[in-house]
C-alpha cells in the first residue's frame, strides 16, 4: 500500500475513529468525575437505555420519519408548483415571493400551536409545520434553476418556434434539476428539524407519537439515558437522510449526463 492509499484509507476511517475516541473519553470522564446519570449519562448507559426499549424508540423514530417524508414530499410538490408559477408570470412572482420570504422568517415554534389548533388532525398538523420549514430552500433553488438556462439557449428555442411548454419541458426543467436536487438535500434535514419542533409543541399539548415526544417525556422523568438515546437516533436519522438524498441526487444526475 503506497502513501496515497494509506492517506485515503485514513481519511475514510478518520470520522469513525474520532467518534470512538470521543465516546471513550466521554465514558471515562463520566466515570472518573462520578457525574450523576440524571446530569450526564455515559455512552454505555445510553446504549443500555436503547436496549431496554428498542421497539418503543424505533416506532417513535418511524413516526417522526413518516412526518418528515410526508413534509418533504409536500414541500417538493408545492415549491415546484410555485416556482413554475413564478417563472411563468411576473405577476405571480410579485405575488408569491414576499409571502415565501415571510414564511421562511416566521419561527415555527411561534406558529405551530396555531396550526395544530386550526388543522385539528395531529398527523396533518405536524406535516404542515414541517412542510413550512422545508419549503423555502426547495422553492428558492427550484426558482433559481428554472431561470438558469443561458439566454442564448432561450433565444435558440425562440428561433425554432418552440412553445412555452416545449421550452419548459426540454430546457428549463432539465436545467433546474440539479438545483432542485440540491434543495431537496437541504430541505430533507430541515423537514426533520421541522417535524421534531412540531412534535415538541404538539407533545406538550398532549399528542404523543414521535421521537421528540419521547425526548420530552424522558426529560420530564429525568430519564437522561433514554433522552440521549432518542437524540442519538435523531442525529443518525438526520445523517442518513442527508447522505441518502445526496446519493439519490447524484444517481439521478449521473444517469442523465
Amino acid at each position: 500500500m503506497n502513501a496515497t492509499s494509506r492517506v485515503r484509507l485514513g481519511m475514510k476511517f478518520a470520522p469513525a475513529l474520532f467518534g470512538l475516541l470521543a465516546l471513550a473519553l466521554w465514558e471515562a470522564a463520566v466515570r472518573i468525575g462520578d457525574v450523576p446519570v440524571y446530569q450526564l449519562p455515559g455512552p454505555i448507559a445510553i446504549i443500555g437505555a436503547f436496549v431496554a426499549d428498542p421497539v418503543g424508540l424505533l416506532q417513535a423514530l418511524a413516526s417522526t420519519l413518516l412526518v418528515t417524508f410526508a413534509a418533504l414530499f409536500a414541500a417538493a410538490v408545492l415549491s415546484l408548483a410555485m416556482a413554475l408559477a413564478m417563472s411563468a408570470s411576473q405577476l405571480a412572482q410579485a405575488a408569491i415571493q414576499p409571502w415565501a420570504v415571510a414564511l421562511q422568517v416566521t419561527p415555527l415554534p411561534a406558529i405551530a400551536p396555531l396550526i395544530i389548533i386550526w388543522v385539528g388532525q395531529p398527523f396533518v398538523a405536524l406535516v404542515v409545520c414541517a412542510t413550512i420549514v422545508a419549503f423555502f430552500p426547495l422553492f428558492a433553488n427550484t426558482a433559481t434553476g428554472l431561470a438558469s438556462a443561458p439566454p442564448e439557449l432561450n433565444d435558440l428555442f425562440r428561433l425554432y418556434g418552440a412553445s412555452r411548454w416545449r421550452t419548459l419541458a426540454l430546457l428549463r426543467l432539465p436545467a433546474a434539476l440539479p438545483y432542485f436536487l440540491a434543495g431537496l438535500r437541504i430541505s430533507g434535514g430541515l423537514a426533520l428539524v421541522g417535524a421534531v419542533v412540531a412534535e415538541l409543541v404538539a407533545g406538550s399539548g398532549g399528542f404523543a407519537s414521535g421521537l421528540a415526544y419521547r425526548i420530552l417525556e424522558a426529560s420530564f422523568r429525568l430519564e437522561m439515558p433514554r433522552m440521549f438515546a432518542a437524540l442519538v437516533l435523531l442525529a443518525l436519522a438526520g445523517i442518513l437522510l442527508n447522505f441518502g438524498l445526496g446519493a439519490l441526487g447524484q444517481s439521478i444526475l449521473r444517469r442523465r449526463t
Binding site: 443561458p150 442564448e152 439557449l153 433565444d155 435558440l156 428555442f157 425562440r158 428561433l159 425554432y160 418556434g161 418552440a162 416545449r166 426540454l170 430546457l171 432539465p174 434539476l177 442523465r256 449526463t257
Partner: protein, 244 residues
C-alpha cells in the same frame, strides 16, 4: 434573399447600437460583419434572426418571412444542452418542429459526419473539446437545412490551430450546404479568409462604413497567398478609416 433597409436600434438607457444600416444578402452569399466590440454587429445579427425588433427601418425577405428552421444560429459559445448527447443536441431543432426521432436520425448523423464528428454521436458536451463542441453547435444550426446561417463570433474563444481548422471546414460545409452565411467577427484575418463580402462597421452608433469584395479562392494554402496578405492590408486600411 434579405434586404435590410435603414435599420436603427436604440436600447433602454439611450444607447444607440445601430443607425441607418442597410444591407442586402443574396443566395449563397458569405458576408462577414467586421468591426470593433460594441459596434452593433451582434445586434444586427439578432435583428436579422428576428430575436429583436428594429426601432427604425425594416427587413424584407424575398418570398415571405422565414419559417422556423429557415435560419440557423451559432453563438460565440457552443451553448449545448449539457445533459444531452451530441446527437440529441443536433436533433433538438427538428424535435422542436415535431419531427420524430426515427425520421430525424439519418439527417442528424449526416450533418454530424459533415462537420467531422463521426463516432462522437453519443458523447456528452463535457466529453468533447471546445472545437468539437463548436462543431456540434454548427451541426445543430445546419440540421434544418437553413436558407441563412448566422454566426456570432463562433471561433473567438478557440485556440489558433482549432480556429484555422474550423474556418477551413466551415467553408467546405458552406459550399456543400449552399446557404447564405452572415459571420460576425472582430478578426481581420478571419474576415479575409472566410468572406466573399466584408462589411466594415463603425463604432457606436454602429453603421456600415463600406464593403470590400473578395475574389480569393480559399483553401488551406490561402494563408500563404500574397493576395490574402493584400486583402488583409486592404481591410486593415479600411478599418482604420472606419474607426476615425
Amino acid at each position: 434573399m434579405l434586404t435590410v433597409s435603414h435599420v436603427g436600434r436604440r436600447f433602454p438607457g439611450g444607447i444607440e447600437a445601430l443607425r441607418d444600416t442597410s444591407l442586402r444578402l443574396s443566395k449563397a452569399d458569405f458576408v462577414v460583419l467586421l468591426g470593433p466590440s460594441g459596434c452593433g454587429k451582434s445586434t444586427l445579427l439578432r435583428l436579422i434572426a428576428g430575436l429583436d425588433q428594429p426601432d427604425e427601418g425594416n427587413l424584407t425577405w424575398d418570398g415571405g418571412p422565414p419559417a422556423p428552421g429557415d435560419i440557423g444560429y451559432v453563438f460565440q459559445d457552443a451553448t449545448l444542452l449539457p445533459w444531452a448527447t451530441a446527437e440529441d443536441n443536433v436533433f433538438l431543432p427538428l424535435r422542436l418542429r415535431g419531427v420524430s426521432r426515427e425520421a430525424a436520425m439519418p439527417q442528424v448523423h449526416s450533418v454530424l459526419r459533415r462537420v467531422g464528428l463521426n463516432g462522437f454521436e453519443r458523447a456528452r458536451p463535457r466529453q468533447l473539446s471546445g472545437g468539437m463542441r463548436m462543431r456540434v453547435s454548427i451541426a445543430r444550426a445546419l440540421v434544418t437545412r437553413p436558407r441563412l446561417l448566422l454566426m456570432d463570433e463562433p471561433f473567438a474563444a478557440l485556440d489558433e490551430f482549432t480556429r484555422h481548422r474550423l474556418q477551413e471546414d466551415l467553408l467546405e460545409v458552406w459550399r456543400l450546404a449552399g446557404c447564405t452565411v452572415v459571420f460576425v467577427t472582430h478578426s481581420i484575418y478571419e474576415a479575409a479568409f472566410l468572406a466573399r463580402r466584408i462589411v466594415l462597421m463603425t463604432p457606436r452608433p454602429g453603421r456600415i462604413d463600406r464593403e470590400i469584395a473578395s475574389t480569393l479562392t480559399t483553401g488551406p494554402e490561402t494563408r500563404l497567398d500574397p493576395a490574402y496578405a493584400a486583402l488583409v492590408a486592404e481591410i486593415t486600411h479600411g478599418m482604420e478609416a472606419a474607426l476615425q
